[in-house]
Amino acid sequence: MQVKLKRTGSTLIVQMMGELDHHAVDAMREKIDVKLLHEDIKNILFDFQGVNFMDSSGLGMILGRYKIVSAKGGKVLACSLNPRVRRIFELAGLENKIPVFSSKQDALAGA
């Protein structure tokens, strides 16, 4: 799993490549939380363009970031989910909390 963090205004874009499982989220969580702690970030956009696998560990990591960001009035967004990832989002009812967009551009316009 490769993770790239970029900033656009007050939104942190988390660009993921690979498989989002328990092993991957442990490393990634720390990387994101360091940014949240030291930089003035309001929203997080998880870009799933390069994600070909996600299980419930990915859900847990995203919900954890949602708790941190929403406590400070920010939003967590997600974009470019493949149908598999989308099914897991739906199963967990995540879309009530985390708006899903078809592209990064649409998501950034909504942030």
Binding site: E19, D21, H22, H23, D55, S56, S57, I88, A92
Partner: protein, 145 residues
């Protein structure tokens, strides 16, 4: 085509991907659809992750993954010899987790149940947990390739 496999791995998070890929490769020989293979990969990942996080609480231990193919029917058994589950019914409830501090979503068993035809759990506190996942593939045929 009848076949079986058995895999024994130490309880390490990097083995979660290995285990799910091995079972997917084993199941692939009866020509399931890509979606069916993805269902199996996700369900196996959930069961192995449970063994690592809950069964062995991120400590050392051995996980056994055994699978059989009988015609188009895949049965996968994931065994750990860890702490066990005191209340299986509670553990299976959607969104319930015994480890909220680890940011677990509580969706593991829900995913296993939804992505497989059946998910059977046997557990004894202090002895370990055995999860049996079954899926019959729609497109598979029984003839030798």
């Amino acid at each position: 085509m009848d076949n079986y496999m058995r895999l024994e791995i130490p309880s390490k998070s990097q083995n979660e991907a290995f285990a799910r890929v091995v079972v997917a490769a084993f199941a692939a020989q009866v020509d399931p659809t890509i979606d069916e293979i993805s269902d199996v990969k996700t369900a196996v990942s959930e069961a192995v992750t449970n063994a690592v996080i809950h069964g062995y609480e991120n400590g050392p231990g051995t996980i056994v993954i055994a699978a059989t193919l009988e015609g188009s029917r895949l049965e996968v058994t994931i065994i750990d010899y860890g702490v066990g589950i005191a209340d299986i019914e509670k553990a299976r409830e959607p969104l319930y987790t015994s480890k909220p501090e680890l940011e677990r979503s509580g969706m593991g068993f829900t995913i296993m149940e939804n992505f497989m035809d059946s998910c059977h759990v046997v557990s004894e506190p202090g002895k370990g947990t055995t999860v049996t996942l079954v899926k019959t593939f729609s497109r598979a045929d029984d003839t030798e390739a």
